[in-house]
């Protein structure tokens, strides 16, 4: 009986997680277009539903009814595999991400995470690394110049930025003495890591922007010079897969920033429920992502590499050394 309940709970949590992650891009696209509009003194979508609230649904229907086109020269197997490879890892990663301690429903304690891995951080970075295969396969299989250029850029960009990103979080791991995200949040109960690790946060955030391929580092799909980059040849539902994946990664980066540097669900001053604090912080970071997108221009490719290797990497190294010295 115990086992059945526990299993049922896990299945329920996973289903809920998948549902949330699949549905969240809908309001996020709306928000993104709305913010874009207002930043540019427009109104954004207004026609479908109240203030365009149903616009994402209309877009979704449009994407679903579009022709699913595969270029004649494409590698059909990889072409079909790529969107799935791009979509799955961001979903899998959320298994290791905690959203709070626990809530009690009907007298039973329900933990707000699917699993409490002791190497959660490692798991997150390992799995999110797979996502790049989706992008690379997608660009390569389409047999198009733009797409292959986009995916080559992504390849280099992902590798260059995963290193400083990994180094940036080492400071956090040193402070919490654990790689479990739960322990990391618990260690920040009094003082958030951002106080001790501002440089680490900076490196993490910039690398996160690059990892989720948002402006100013969206070279993989630089619509100005590459058509649409790696997903130039994709249409319909497969394109939607890439979109959902992009939003899931944006969300993941925000969640990680909150967990690693901004105290997770620990609140300050205002006593709100922990989950509310968590959601508010994540929403703030998602907003910052969108805000950045409509403020900054895209970096040139060589600048991108220079920032990654000449600025972020030394900074993250120095951060580790200084943290280590202070720790001793």
């Amino acid at each position: 009986m115990e086992l059945v309940v526990a299993l049922g709970l896990i299945v329920f949590k996973v289903a809920l997680l998948i549902a949330i992650l699949l549905l969240l891009p809908l309001p996020l696209t709306w928000l993104e277009r709305k913010i874009a509009g207002h930043v540019q003194q427009r109104m954004g979508p207004m026609r479908v539903g109240w203030h365009g609230l149903l616009q994402p649904v209309a877009d979704g229907v449009k994407l679903l009814t579009k022709e699913d086109h595969i270029p004649a020269e494409a590698d059909r197997f990889l072409f079909k595999l790529a969107p799935i490879l791009a979509l799955a890892p961001p979903f899998v990663v959320f298994v290791a991400v905690p959203f709070g301690e626990s809530v009690s429903v009907l007298g039973t304690e329900i933990t707000l995470y699917v699993s409490n891995m002791n190497v959660a951080l490692l798991f997150v970075f390992a799995v999110i690394g797979i996502e790049v295969y989706g992008v690379i396969f997608g660009g390569w299989a389409a047999n198009s110049k733009y797409a292959v250029l986009g995916s080559l850029r992504t390849c280099a960009q992902m590798i260059s930025y995963e290193i400083p990103m990994g180094f940036a979080v080492i400071g956090v791991v040193m402070l919490a003495q654990s790689m479990s995200l739960l322990d990391i949040v618990r260690a920040q109960a009094n003082v958030w890591n951002i106080v001790y690790q501002p440089v680490g946060f900076f490196v993490f955030f910039v690398a996160g922007l690059a990892e989720s391929q948002r402006i100013p580092f969206d070279l993989a799909e630089a619509e100005g010079d590459l058509g649409a980059g790696f997903h130039t040849e994709y249409s319909g539902i497969r394109f939607a897969f890439f979109m959902v994946s992009e939003y899931a990664i944006m969300l993941l980066t925000s969640v990680l920033a909150v967990i690693l540097f901004f105290g997770g669900w620990n609140g300050v001053l205002v006593p709100l429920p922990p989950l509310v604090w968590f959601v508010l912080k994540v929403a703030f970071f998602v907003y910052v992502f969108i805000w950045f997108r409509f403020t900054f221009p895209r970096y040139r490719y060589d600048q991108l590499m220079a920032i990654g290797w000449k600025v972020l990497l030394p900074l993250s190294m120095a951060n580790i050394i200084i943290t280590g010295v202070a720790f001793l």
Binding site: V39, Q40, R42, W291
Partner: protein
Amino acid sequence: MSRTLDRIGTWIGWAFFADLANGLALTFGYMFSKSVTMQYPDKEKWLPYSRYRGHHFLKRDEEGEIKCVACELCARICPCYCIEVIPYEDEKGNRRPAKFEIDMARCLFCGLCEDACPADAIALGQQYEFSSFSSRDLVIGRDDLLGKPGKAMTGGGVVAARLNTEQDVLVETSEPQGYNWWRNIRRT
């Protein structure tokens, strides 16, 4: 000395991303400023100033008689040769146009016909919504021109978009003439 200090200040600013922060602050400010766009086909539309040169209309005199005396001066002066006037003599012995056609597809809205007219019979109004799928539909005859809305006395403002401007309805805004549209663009 102060230039050196300025330069040092700029360098310190760069080190702490003051320039990026400036940009962010600017876009953040714009996000809460008023939108300058109109929800044109749905809700509101722009009513041009009264000197705007839109669709032509023919005027009537006090007796309801068409003012045009079919002198063909407008047809002469028109740089695009898009007006065709054929005169006739009506019961009272006045010269009137039997046919008065303007090819709106060719018209360049210079307003010369309005200036040339000795009888003050033709003018360019504020109507600008007369696109059509066929350029043949853009040849407008005498009776249609008589039915077009005339000039509104006010202009330069936002009005409801779904008014029936096909008829003689004049759309007037409550905005005073000389309404400063640019005021909306920058929040200062």
